[in-house]
Symmetry: C2
Subunit: 204 residues, 2 copies
């Protein structure tokens, strides 16, 4: 028995491919995604890509999963690293949620991948999960603020959190789509103004 043969580090290779695919999608878009690009970016042959991902859709789904994970973690980190003051933390959340420019690659990638959601249940699930987690972050921030008396919420934390995430998504969509009327700085100001309004916290 036990002819192990050669149990290589498949996970490492897979990880490299996912990262390479993300890069390729960022550069040429989902539509223009070619196996060759992924292979080149990862420094392997086309055959290797297919060896690990006979179904290319699985790879794209993995890219999506990775992007969602990375994004949520970065926001969680922004929240945790901000000073404990609820207003500061809420502001940190807002700052971490908008694309800094039309070239912001993580946001660009996420919007690209979200488009698949209408057609693919797997992607829809990831988008749903991202939304839920972002709502969770905002909810917590709002509730802590309310509990400490810094915020006076205009509605349930849940509802307000939904609104903030949707607002961010709307502005973000316009930013990455190069709508000249929506500049990142302006979007940030408007989201903050909205946050100020619904929390009754002037120091935001």
């Amino acid at each position: 028995m036990s002819k192990v043969g050669r149990p290589r580090n498949q996970t490492a290779r897979r990880q490299a491919l996912v990262s390479a695919a993300g890069q390729a999608i960022t550069e040429r878009g989902l539509e223009g995604l070619r196996i060759k690009d992924i292979a080149d970016a990862a420094g392997v042959s086309q055959g290797s890509v297919l060896y690990y991902y006979p179904e290319l859709d699985d790879l794209v789904l993995e890219v999506h999963r990775g992007a969602v994970e990375g994004f949520v973690e970065s926001r969680q980190r922004a929240y945790d690293e901000a000073a404990a003051d609820p207003a500061v933390r809420l502001r940190a959340l807002v700052d971490s949620g908008l694309p800094a420019s039309p070239e912001d690659s993580l946001h660009g990638l996420l919007y690209q991948l979200h488009r698949r959601a209408g057609r693919s249940p797997g992607h829809a699930e990831l988008m749903t999960s991202l939304f839920a987690r972002e709502v969770g972050l905002y909810s917590t921030a709002l509730e802590v603020g309310a509990a400490t008396g810094v915020f006076t919420l205009a509605a349930s934390a849940q509802d307000l959190a939904h609104g903030l995430v949707a607002l961010e998504d709307g502005y973000g969509l316009h930013i990455v789509s190069r709508n000249a009327a929506v500049r990142p700085e302006r979007a940030r100001e408007l989201v903050l103004a909205h946050a100020r309004a619904v929390t009754g916290c002037a120091s935001l």
Copy 2:
């Protein structure tokens, strides 16, 4: 001179092709768009499609233009046909701005086409123009309400209008992407709640 030959109704044919292309995009997505599908939907041969649109991108741009135009007109109509009461009119705008279901084809089409904006200036321009016109509609509604004393605006009509459009876009994106946590009815309620908050108009 003057051998007119056969000046057919090119515009009618073009219009038919644009409509057929819109249908094809709705069904298979921008990525999967094939000349054959357009031809089939229009009931002509592939050659004819190329005869009128040697550059397929031009056709897609035309689809986008048509979708934007149709959407803006439908909202304008919704606004005009509502009773003159500012609150009723604002509500009509909100109602006409959200997809009624994940299958809403006009909204679906628009989100699909907006994705090209990041990569194509022509599409970016259309998206920008749509945004500006929607903002215009909301601005007017808000200003009329403020002038008649029905609304008490929490900020400039411009800024509030931006916020309402972005909010709609954000929720709309989740709806067409089949995010189960964002139901059309709920989204509508939340947008209205936001409108109520920023206008101080309880009867909204």
